[in-house]
């Protein structure tokens, strides 16, 4: 039985999309059957990242009850070197669609939750996928909370920003705990000097664990290469020996055992 994994954060810009794309690509390289869904309907980004025009159907259509989930998936034919299937579900990036999704009422959100929950059957059971990865929008948006409820595992990507740490603490306590969700922390953009030795790294892991009282999957050093790539490079595919890729491989393995 596969897993649904949601990448979430309290604040924007922590690196959820970068991590979810690269973790999906890492699994694809490991011959896993993958589906990556763009649940950030306010700022869709997977279309640009995968340089695809889509197939005329969007995740928006699936949640609106216009089509079944298979129609809204783009088959990437696994360009990432593995033998597994690699599907991506895109959020409609048009301003009209973003505006429309922002104006949905509570009844629509309730139905959207039902449709997200039924993905377990259609994607994991019927299509035999190993992982469904949900890239969510930051904070307590309807779409993000729906994704969290539908997921088996929630990974919170945080930075060292004080407001992000406080907000993440509150969010994990007041949201994740209430839904009894398996939760892990990934700290991104950590200054390299904090992780300069194994001893320092271990000390930092303990520090983060004490802050959030949750398992810390990994801490990712701030990398100029990643910033320079500007979201156009899938490191897991294009730079297999890069330290960032190695960290992603560790995260992917930890998710498997989570």
């Amino acid at each position: 039985m596969g897993k649904i994994v949601a990448f979430h954060s309290y604040k924007g810009g922590t690196g959820k999309t970068l991590l979810s794309i690269n973790v999906a690509a890492t699994y694809a390289k490991m011959d896993k059957n993958i589906c990556l869904l763009d649940m950030d309907f306010r700022a869709p980004s997977l279309q640009a990242a995968f340089k695809t025009e889509g197939n005329g159907y969007w995740l928006n259509d699936y949640l609106n009850g216009v089509c079944e989930i298979k129609r809204a998936l783009v088959d990437l034919h696994n360009p990432h070197g593995g033998n597994g299937k690699f599907f991506v579900g895109l959020a409609n990036p048009s301003t009209e669609a973003i505006r429309e999704m922002s104006a949905k009422d509570r009844k629509w959100e309730m139905r959207a939750l039902g449709r997200l929950l039924s993905l377990r059957n259609s994607l994991l059971n019927d299509m035999h996928l190993d992982y469904v990865i949900l890239d969510t929008s930051p904070g307590l948006q309807y779409s993000s909370i729906n994704a969290i409820v539908a997921a088996d595992v929630a990974l919170v990507v945080t930075s060292l920003d004080a407001s992000d740490i406080k907000g993440t603490q509150r969010m994990t306590h007041e949201l994740y705990d209430l839904f009894e969700k398996k939760t892990g922390i990934v700290v991104n953009k950590v200054p390299a000097e904090i992780l300069c030795s194994t001893a320092e790294k271990e000390k930092f892991f303990k520090h983060v664990h004490n802050i959030h009282n949750l398992p810390v999957l990994d801490v990712i050093a701030c990398s100029c290469d990643v910033l320079r790539a500007g979201g156009t490079c899938i490191f897991a595919e294009e730079k297999p020996e890069h330290p960032f890729t190695k960290t992603l491989e560790r995260i992917a393995q930890k998710i498997e055992k989570f």
């Binding site: 509570r106 139905r111 939750l113 039902g114 929950l117 209430l178 839904f179």
Partner: protein, 141 residues
Amino acid sequence: MRQTHPEIAMVTLYKSLQGKSTRVLEKIANSLDQLNEKIDVLIELQKHSRGGIVDESLTDVLDVMTLLSLPDHLRKTAVTLCKLGQATAEEIAEQTRRARAVESGYLNQLVLMGYLKKERRGRKAYFYVEKEASGEKPWEK
């Protein structure tokens, strides 16, 4: 010593009465079980209606914000039902590992609060959020 005809008749009559009384006792036991179950539901409903947890502004829509506002015990039942689409109290109890009668009480409370719907099919009561969520596919219409 061989039994006479009246004795055989008496034994047959006794056995027949014994069989009937067993069936009657079984029926009474079943009825008591059902009654017990209904009393459990009423006790649960009464227990939870004291807290004033029904918020008029949330009535009818079981979205994630409503789920967050529910007390823990009802949230667990409601989330489990959302995941299953539609279910009996027994099916919910299998998932939550709580007693069937307890889940029956919680489900009925959620029905009274307007978040769930209930439908009887034969002897079983099925609960669901919406028809569509329980398996209907709108794109096939």
